[in-house]
């Protein structure tokens, strides 16, 4: 006698848990790589928007508006099929997510830099620091601490949006789920996608809680909380 | 003999460990103006908020026009239609004009149509001397004007009793006068008012009775002449003389 369908569908998910875990690994790696790339590009971009001038500033601002006004899906497809920046789906997805995240991170940092009181810069200059040095050693450390909440938000957004890399066939979590459903057991759709959603939920939850801790740890006693 | 308009009978209220009201009892008749004075933290505002049940009492009874309003089955919204309140920090509805503030209750609580409510609203703004500011938003009014709108808003509901919770203490000194003047006019019109205030000028000239509250108890209750000229309790005298020195210092 065949087992009840419900049991077998959950059993199917459990059997393929190793694949889902591998997909989760790709999702996490893609998130971390994209956030890092976004930080490397987004932080200077934010600084240029605050302290820069001329064509460089305008170029950075325009690039930001374009990247923030275009769906990630379009950016990924354009980079992969249009411009073919890399034959690796992982690299392409990292660049797409990283560029898009840079555009948002630049705004987080810009806001944070602007929120640091002007008197701080003046005081630093008054003790004899150069403008660049004053920005680097007085304004930036304060601004970085203040950008943690915005950064937290951005982290979870990137984490969730890695799922869009399914469009170029990258083997991240949702793609694994989709493959299990289409190439494996189509009756198990609910079980598969609920499991996938649960994993995403745990990831965002854990990320949020850890970044809360980070925020507490780096907050300055008596300092204005961002 | 008719019932008193408002009666508090052995009212107790505490917040956790802190006893705020410890057996408060008093009565006032229609047309009376009672002024409550006392040190900060003595329970004045709490007592006021118990009357329209913004704060719930622990034990005791409160009667309005002979009806016990602290029963569990009392409709608080019905009660609040009959008891107007003027707040220390005005609490004007920030998204409504002066007229809108006055008419909201008329329309949504009394169910008046828009035109009638407007007409009534104008009358009440006129009463506080602000009909020319009917279309101004709270942010565009001075503190004194805000409080006068606050009074008009409470008056519009045609309440049996008006509660004033330190109506002038958030105002710059030069704006106190216009609000006190409006309150004096209302007192002269025979509106029943229970006022928490340290405006001694108002208390002397308009109050029927002064209630001195300290540590949640009524220490002394009597006509202004008695309290000001011949206080029965030592604490009353001390408090009043301190009040006078601080006010002279302003």
């Amino acid at each position: 006698m065949p087992p009840l369908p419900l049991q077998s569908d959950w059993a199917f998910v459990v059997e393929n848990l190793d694949l889902l875990i591998a997909g989760t690994g790709v999702t996490v790696a893609l998130t971390v790589a994209s956030i890092l790339l976004g930080f490397l590009l987004g932080f200077p971009a934010g600084a240029i928007e605050v302290y820069g001038r001329g064509p460089l500033k305008r170029a950075v601002e325009t690039a930001g508006v374009v990247l923030r006004g275009t769906p990630l899906l379009v950016i990924i497809i354009l980079l992969f099929f249009g411009l073919s920046v890399s034959s690796s789906a992982f690299v392409t997805a990292t660049i797409a997510l990283g560029l898009r995240s840079a555009a948002y991170q630049s705004q987080i940092f810009r806001g944070a830099l602007q929120s640091v009181d002007e008197g701080q810069l003046e005081a630093a200059r008054a003790v004899g620091m150069g403008r660049f040095q004053a920005i680097r050693s007085v304004v930036v450390p304060q601004a970085l601490r203040r950008s943690v909440p915005g950064f937290q938000n951005e982290f979870t957004i990137v984490l969730k949006d890695t799922s869009i890399a399914i469009v170029i066939g990258l083997g991240e979590l949702l793609t694994v789920g989709q493959n299990l459903y289409q190439g494996g057991q189509s009756t198990a759709a609910l079980e598969i996608f609920l499991t996938v959603s649960l994993i995403y939920f745990v990831l965002t939850f854990v990320t949020n809680r850890s970044l809360d801790r980070l925020d507490d740890r780096f907050s300055i006693p008596g300092g204005e909380r961002a | 003999m008719s019932d008193p308009l408002l009666a508090l009978d052995d009212v107790y209220k505490s917040y956790g460990e802190e006893q705020v009201l410890s057996g408060v009892s008093f009565e006032m008749d229609a047309g009376d103006v009672d002024v409550v004075i006392g040190p900060s933290g003595s329970g004045k505002s709490t007592m006021l908020r118990c009357v329209n049940r913004l704060t719930e009492i622990d034990s005791g009874d409160i009667y309005l026009d002979g009806d016990c309003v602290t029963d569990a089955d009392t409709d608080v919204n019905e009660l609040r239609k009959q008891v107007g309140m003027v707040f220390q920090d005005f609490n004007l509805f920030a998204h409504l004009t002066a007229l809108g503030n006055v008419t909201l209750g008329l329309r949504k609580v009394r169910g008046m149509d828009k035109a009638t409510a407007r007409e009534r609203g104008y009358e009440h703004l006129e009463q506080v001397g602000l009909s020319d500011q009917a279309d101004s938003y709270p942010a565009e009014l001075s503190g004194g004007q805000k409080q006068r709108v606050g009074i008009a808003r409470a008056l519009a509901m045609d309440p049996k009793l008006l509660l004033f919770d330190e109506p002038t203490s958030a105002l710059d000194p030069e704006l106190v006068g216009e609000v006190v003047e409006v309150m004096r006019d209302l007192a002269a019109e025979g509106i029943t008012m229970l006022v928490v205030s340290h405006e001694m000028g108002f208390a002397r000239s308009a109050a029927s009775d002064i209630i001195f509250l300290d540590e949640g108890r009524i220490v002394e209750h009597g006509p202004p002449e008695q309290l000001f000229e011949n206080p029965q309790a030592a604490r009353t005298g001390e408090f009043l003389s301190r009040l006078e020195t601080t006010h002279e210092g302003e």
Binding site: L78 | G105, V109
Partner: protein, 326 residues
Amino acid sequence: MGTPESTTTERTIRTRAAELTDQPLTLLTVAVFWTWLVVRWTNDFLLDGALIERGTSFFPTAPFEAAASALGSLAASLGPVGFPVGWVAGFFEFLAASIPYLPELAIGVWATILLTVLGIALGFVIAVPLSVARVYGGTITRSLALGYTELFRGTPLLAQLFVLYFATPLTTVIRELPTVGTGFIPAQAFWVAVIAFTLNSAAYQSEYIRSALNSVPEGQLTAARAIGLSKVDGIRHVVLPQGLRYAIPGWSNELVYLIKYSSLASFITVRELFERTDAIASETYRYTELFVLAGLFYLALVISASLLMEYVEEQVAIPGLGTTGR
């Protein structure tokens, strides 16, 4: 989460977009874009192709092709200094190549707008009670509302689409409904997408509204209760009119997000802007041109939305309330 700081960030992001939208060239582009869209839709949907046959572009390609090749040869003849002319030639080539696809994309834009507007509007209807429950509810309603928002904000929209489309009988149920998929009424996948966007957007919108409600001073509700309004009426007539105004910046942000994320509906076969672009691209292999074009369309929609929300914000502004006078 909904800290004042994050609200500021949202607002500044939007202000930046607004600075760009203030430029006359941008305004002109947006105006041309919408004029074209409206004429196109009128012709295709209402006039049954009376102005021009459906699917045929308003613009001839020949002049653009001619210009492109003329400029191309000019650039070649100029040699190494001809590269700026070469770029202009490339631009004309791009235009010439795009023109045949414009009618198809305009239809896709219609679906994209419909998805976005329905998603945000229906989401709003759920978001308001949800946020009121979060702020004023008892322990149970509060935790239910919190659970809802955390679930939908903690998982990808795409996964939510997949659950609804592949794993629930929703598609079958909707397909059986009368008029679905006939005439003007889109097929079932569209409605599944609308449901997903509604549920998802409700969670995000409720977060914005919740933090806006929290910024309405407590005394406002107290004063409302003091004139005899019930708690529900006080929230409805006093707290919400103020809180919703505070929520406009966050809400605009959500609108922009939804325009972009509506592209995910293509995964469940909804024929919106991205899906149509993709379909043409996989036939013609003109990925770059087509997706640059689609990107520009999305950008135009996003900028239009920012402009619209700025206008709305101005219209409902009250002195001393919300973003204007705080």
